[in-house]
């Protein structure tokens, strides 16, 4: 007696279709699972046996063979518990052969037959929708899956419920999670220049480096960047939530529209930062997709980890190549770095003197590496605020007001024929539409400072954003000179 159940397995952030084929035949009683499953898949046999028995079904006293097709694809995770059990029940006739036919089935079983949600539920949901199937999974995932438009979802609590065969339905997206309002910019006193830089970075999606002595407020400023970025669009929500779901993190805040803010510790490994491991898991750059990746103490990160950032920063995605194939993760993020000017942190401080040797300063800065520095558009030094300025209550601008300006600048940028992220070469020059004076000004600066081609492009991109913030269709000397003031000291 044979039966098949449709399911999927997660590769990268996508679910790939898999068919579970069960065969119950006479012979020596046993239960084998073939088809390149990992340990969790093989352990499913014991969970399934117990779950079937405790749900009032009978486990066949026969030879049971289950094949996971396509056989060459490696399969991971506990999501195969429910499809295995269902295939078995169908093969033994305990559940109607035609039941759950147009469903993709996924779920982990407890020994008592209760159904648990699995990692990457949103990937399974997207895949089911693309295949024109409904999704049969744990009831608790219904709200998250509701964000996948047009998906029909059947939520079960225990294995017992498969007998019922109730129809899958459209579930409403669980919108009750309010968009988190992060810390507000108005809580930061002073730092006008750094705030302006945050606004520009938010408007143009530029990478930003904050440099300053310890305790001057770099981290505080960086945490407020998310608050001035526009909320995620519907597509972006799903893209970001899928990555979080695959990584086993809570995806509700991304689904509610909050941009992710990831701040990995500087001991983070290469695999932790860009993804990796076996099976491959998304790294911090992918978890920060459509949001902010904040690297505090940039110079303390392992150089290999920092250099691995170069490809995702350039391409907006990341491809991990492994012996059994390659995996692609999305990674479009704004990088905000923070570092001290030197190992002791007080280089150039007007009051405290720096105790580092010149060689130590050069080594410290060199750790970040030229190629990465080259990809950072703006660098702002943050000064230690004077104590007097901290205790005086001032009225600072609220994040929502800044966000309004950021939104209108972004709209202006999007109204141009070329997408702002793809601006380069002649398209960038056309978008900037500089007059002769501005052009001459740029040429003289580029010549005097010996700017590289990439440095000029970077400066022009920032200038274009500044003009957008001003509501100006053309880039003028004003915008260029402000952009020049954000350049890196080395650039």
């Amino acid at each position: 007696m044979q039966a098949t159940v449709l399911t999927a397995t997660v590769v990268g952030v996508r679910a790939v279709p898999v068919e579970v084929q069960a065969d119950v035949s006479s012979g020596l009683p046993g239960f084998t699972v073939v088809g390149l499953g990992d340990t969790a898949v093989h352990e499913a046999r014991d969970r399934v046996r117990s779950a079937i028995r405790s749900s009032g079904f009978e486990f066949p006293n026969a030879r049971v063979t289950v094949n996971l097709a396509p056989a060459p694809l490696r399969k991971h995770g506990t999501g195969f518990d429910l499809p295995l059990a269902l295939a078995l029940l169908k093969a033994t006739g305990q559940v109607d052969r035609g039941a759950w036919e147009d469903h993709s089935v996924v779920g982990e079983l407890g020994l008592d037959g209760t159904l648990r949600q699995v990692r990457g539920l949103l990937s399974y949901a997207v895949d089911a929708k693309e295949r024109g199937l409904s999704l049969l999974a744990a009831a608790e995932g219904a709200q998250a899956a509701g964000h996948v438009e047009g998906l029909r979802y059947a939520g079960l609590r225990t294995l017992r419920d498969v007998r019922g065969g109730q129809a899958a339905s459209h579930s409403a997206p669980g919108c009750e999670a309010e968009k988190e309002t992060g810390p507000d910019l108005c809580e930061v006193a002073g730092h006008a220049q750094a705030k302006r830089a945050l606004e520009v970075a938010a408007a143009g999606g530029h990478n930003l480096l904050l440099m300053g002595p310890p305790g001057c407020g770099k981290t505080m400023l960086a945490r407020r960047l998310c608050g001035i970025l526009p909320p995620l669009s519907a597509d972006e929500r799903l893209e970001t939530a899928v990555v979080h779901s695959v990584a086993g993190l809570d995806e509700t805040s991304a689904l509610a529209g909050s941009r992710p803010f990831r701040a990995p510790h500087h001991t983070c490994s290469v695999a932790g930062l860009v993804g990796g491991g076996s099976p491959p898991r998304p790294g911090e750059v992918s978890l920060a997709h459509n949001g902010v990746l904040f690297l505090d103490e940039l110079a303390e990160f392992a150089p290999s980890a920092l250099q691995a950032l170069r490809q995702p920063m350039e391409d907006g995605h990341l491809t991990l190549v492994r012996a059994d194939g390659h995996v692609r993760y999305p990674a479009r993020f704004s990088l905000v770095g923070a570092m001290n000017p030197c190992p002791c942190g007080y280089l150039g401080d007007p009051v405290r003197s720096c105790t580092c040797s010149l060689g130590a300063v050069a080594r410290y800065r060199g750790r970040v590496g030229g190629p990465l520095m080259d990809r950072i558009d703006m660098c702002v030094t943050v000064a230690r605020p004077e104590a007097a300025g901290l205790v005086v209550a001032t009225t600072e601008e609220r994040s929502c007001h800044v966000m309004a300006r950021v939104l209108s600048a972004r709209e202006r940028a999007m109204s141009r024929p070329t997408h702002p992220a793809g601006l380069s070469g002649s398209a960038l020059l056309a978008a900037c539409d500089m007059d002769a004076i501005a052009r001459r000004w740029l040429e003289s600066v580029a010549h005097a400072r010996v700017l590289s081609g990439r440095a000029v492009t970077r400066m022009l991109r920032v200038s274009r954003t500044l003009a957008d913030l001003d509501g100006s269709p053309t880039v003028g000397v004003d915008h260029l000179s402000e952009a020049a003031s954000y350049r890196l000291e080395a650039g």
């Binding site: 002073g190 730092h191 006008a192 220049q193 302006r196 440099m211 300053g212 000017p341 280089l347 150039g348 401080d349 007007p350 003197s353 720096c354 010149l358 702002v380 030094t381 943050v382 000064a383 000004w441 003289s444 600066v445 005097a448 400072r449 000397v477 004003d478 915008h479 260029l480 000179s481 402000e482 952009a483 020049a484 003031s485 000291e489």
Partner: protein
């Protein structure tokens, strides 16, 4: 590159060193020994501000072009800048090292030291090949002071090794000159203190020329006049930055101007080369 060893009784041994309290027994010289005639010592902090580097360039360059050897220590910062300015003016200059005269230390100065050895002179009282030793650098300061008829302190914090050179100069009866600086700048505390203790302030090359003549040197008249005479500054932002280096935030607050306007103005001034960005984010000359 000619090497020679000069004992105290050698005719090439610089006479002016013999009048100091503790002249070295032997001098190891690479280059042209005639450079060891009385000169102007130019010393300053290794970790100099752009202001200090500019002053070192300006005064050392002028002295060298007037034929007065610029004596300094070859260290990073003001010293190196003084040597470079003298080399660029094709004038005489001497580096006094705290290691063997044939040893490249600090490594970042190697290129300049190589030029000094072939075109000017590098001196040490330590035998060939001696590795750098900490205390030797303090002792070589007395040779810098001794070779010079006047010592110019460009920029130095408090406390600073530059002061030992000034003390050696005072002990040898050489006049000490100092470039005054902003009272809020830590790098100018040293020269400002020296001036209040009686050093001669040097604010332009006319001051320096007078001081050199007073010390018994004869700078040639042909040297180029100072090109940096400051004209009246109409721009408020530039005026404020020349008076005191500051951050754009503080400038906008103090001048009661819009921050974005100040940022743009500063960017423009920087592009023109009128101000520079300091490592802590302040802008200044």
């Amino acid at each position: 590159m000619e090497r020679c060893e000069l004992g105290r009784d050698d005719p090439l041994y610089p006479r002016q060193l013999l009048s100091t309290p503790w002249p070295p027994e032997r001098l190891y010289v690479i280059g042209d020994p005639s450079m060891l005639r009385p000169g102007l010592g130019v010393v300053g902090a290794r970790r100099a501000t752009p202001y200090g580097l500019r002053c070192a360039t300006r005064f050392a360059g002028w002295a060298a072009s007037a034929g007065v050897p610029v004596v300094s220590g070859g260290a990073h910062g003001c010293d190196l800048q003084a040597h470079i300015a003298a080399l660029e003016a094709s004038g005489p200059t001497v580096a006094v090292l705290g290691c063997g005269a044939d040893v490249d230390y600090p490594a970042s100065s190697a290129g300049v030291l190589r030029q000094l050895r072939s075109r000017c002179a590098v001196v040490s009282e330590l035998p060939w090949g001696t590795r750098p030793i900490r205390h030797a650098f303090v002792l070589r300061n007395r040779i810098i002071a001794g070779l010079s008829y006047a010592l110019l302190v460009v920029e130095a914090g408090l406390p600073s090794g530059t002061f030992t050179t000034a003390n050696y100069a005072a002990d040898a009866g050489r006049p000490v000159l100092a470039v005054p600086g902003c009272i809020t700048s830590p790098g100018s505390r040293g020269p400002n203190r020296l001036i209040s203790d009686g050093a001669t302030p040097v604010t332009d090359v006319a001051d320096l020329a007078d001081a050199l003549r007073g010390a018994g040197l004869r700078p040639s008249e042909a040297a180029e006049a100072d090109g940096e005479a400051s004209s009246a500054v109409r721009d408020r932002v530039l005026g404020a930055l020349l008076a005191e280096p500051s951050r754009p935030d503080d400038l906008a607050r103090d001048l009661d101007m819009d921050l974005v306007f100040v940022l743009r103005r500063v960017g423009e001034l920087e592009a023109k080369g009128e101000v520079r960005r300091y490592p802590d984010g302040r802008y200044g000359p």
